[in-house]
Structures are given as structure tokens and as C-alpha cells.
Symmetry: C2
């Protein structure tokens, strides 16, 4: 089945391709800044929808479009993509020994209808040494990752416990997105 | 810190090395067959201990030895390593759309003392198509993996929900093993 993905993330693309979809990329830039007083839940839901809406203006065929947005929240603070090596090191230091939330908004739309939702995963990191954080940042360069880590990399060793969707932490809650695609297809 | 690992698993080695340990491998073969009426919990605990005991006879220095054993249990049935391509495909077909348990036994020992425990993780797979299962098995050849999948590979896309330790699913509950090492070092 052919779908459009409103994201340049190779991780989202791989998840969908391995699940059997023929994925076409449409990158449509949107402003990803939060609105004042916007909750993390509202932010990811809004951005997922805006990505799909922006992609519709570029889509060549009346296919189905998938969009997603993922953020990391720690004790009320939203951790976005790190702005530098030092920022990435600081972010991982903050996450060390604590439990954070990963929130993914997802949106699946056709010309007629959209389905969207959010998915929450709790992730607890063990206590990390500064040395292993620096080694990870210098090796993986996680500058395009919210929270400065990719769970499908060596950072899997940072994770103590997980409660919730694992693909949401990768960047797209795959089961929920497949359910939404089926819901759209069945009317 | 120098440690011995009583296992040839590159995944266990990488987890420990990334956490800052200098890992030496001692492979000591033991019989991994379950004893009649042995529970999955007792099995992984016993095998982790036997691996450490077997390694002690080969260790050159009085260092600390780490051993671990991981199995997958689905509805009362223990899923070991697949014996063939067809067996791997059948195993993943069984896991499709269901929740299974991953049990890891771990054991950390010095000449004076051992610390051991078990770690349980619940993993729910989304419904998988036969096509994606075959594609995964032919690409990843998961013949050395209990349950026929490695969560740190493309099989991360099979996983819907996780509750518990993620490194245990990789093969060694890292936080628990680090805690056990600290416990031994502090007397």
C-alpha cells in the first residue's frame, strides 16, 4: 500500500516500510514552537496535524498521509532537539537516574477524513556516568533527536524501565498508526 | 573496572562495555535444558548461576564474573532459540498479536560471594503479517535469539507495548547487574 509520510525522519520511514508500506516522503516545513501555555499533549497533537495539513498542499495523488511529532518531557520541562554538543550532554545528564515521558502525536489523513491521537510512554533511565554520556554524544551525535537519544541505538543501555509504546519512543507509535490507517480505509 | 562475562553474547558485552566496564569473555558451556517441572523463573536463575560457576573454573584472576540467561515465555510455553528458518517463522507467528514474558536470570560473583536475581518484562507484539515475519527472519537470521527476535534490531517495530526492563529483553538487565556489582564491591 502506498502512503505519504509528512516527515524526513529515516526512523519513521523504516518502521512503516518494514511493516509493509510503500512510503513516499513529503517534507513540509512548519513552525514547531509551542504556543504559550500549550500542554505537551496539545503540542504534539497539533504539530502532527499541521504536518499532515502542510503535506496535503504538496501531495501529487489522493493518497493517505501520515504525520507524527515526538517530544520528551521531564518534570514539566519539554526537552526538544539539542542545539549543541554541550546541550546534548546536559540533557542526558538531566535524564540520568530519572523517569521521563515520551509523547507522540500522530495524524493520518485522506482528502476526506483525518484520524489523530497521542501516545504516552514512560521511560526510566538508570544513573549514567558523565563519561558514558560524552562517549554516546560524540559517537552517535544525537542532534536531531528530542531528548538527545535514540532508543534504537546504544542508548538502549541507558534505559532501565519502559512502560508503554516502544515505537512511539522511536518516533511513531506504529500499532496506533496502522489502526488509524485501517480505520480510514474501512470508511 | 575489569569484569569477566560468562557468555559469548556480543549484545551482553556491548551493554557492559558502553556502561564503562572492561569486559573479558569466558565461554563455559553448560547444559541449558530445563529440569522436569522447573518453572521458567527457576530455569533462568539456575542457568545464570551455573554459567558463573562454570566460568570460575576457567578464570585466570580473582575478578568479578557476570552471567545471565534469557528466555521468552508465551502462554506457559518456553520459546528457546529457533532450530531452523521455519521454526523462527513459526515462533514469530505465535508471538504475533499477543503479550509474552521475557525472563532474565543474572548472577554476579566473586571468589567470596554471589548475588543473583531475576527480572521480568512484559512485551506485547502487534499483529504481524506473514510477509514481514519472513522478511525479518531472512534478513536478520535470528537463530541465536530466544523467541527469534532481537529488540535492538528491526524487530523493534514488532513491539507494541513494553512493561519492564528493556536491557533484560536485549539479554542482560543492566541496572540490576550494576546494582549487584556495587553490592559485591561494598562488601
Amino acid at each position: 500500500m502506498d502512503i505519504y509520510l509528512a516527515s524526513g525522519s529515516p526512523r519513521r520511514r523504516t518502521l512503516l516500510e518494514n511493516a509493509g508500506f510503500h512510503v513516499h516522503i513529503i517534507q513540509a516545513s512548519i513552525c514547531e514552537d509551542p504556543i504559550e501555555n500549550e500542554s505537551p499533549e496539545d503540542l504534539v497533537k497539533r504539530l502532527a496535524q499541521e504536518k499532515v495539513q502542510a503535506a496535503f498542499s504538496k501531495a501529487m495523488h489522493p493518497w493517505l498521509i501520515v504525520g507524527g511529532d515526538t517530544i520528551v518531557e521531564l518534570e514539566g520541562e519539554i526537552l526538544c532537539k539539542p542545539s549543541s554538543r554541550e546541550d546534548a550532554i546536559d540533557m542526558l545528564q538531566k535524564l540520568s537516574g530519572k523517569c521521563h515521558r515520551v509523547l507522540s502525536g500522530y495524524c493520518v489523513g485522506t482528502a476526506e477524513k483525518i484520524v489523530y491521537g497521542i501516545c504516552e510512554t514512560k521511560v526510566a533511565f538508570r544513573v549514567l556516568s558523565r563519561k558514558e554520556i560524552i562517549q554516546y554524544v560524540d559517537l552517535e551525535k544525537p542532534f536531531d533527536k528530542s531528548g538527545s537519544y535514540a532508543i534504537q541505538s546504544d542508548a538502549i543501555g541507558f534505559v532501565d524501565k519502559v512502560v508503554g509504546s516502544l515505537t512511539s519512543v522511536v518516533g511513531l507509535p506504529l500499532r496506533e498508526v496502522i489502526d488509524a490507517i485501517e480505520q480510514l480505509q474501512n470508511g
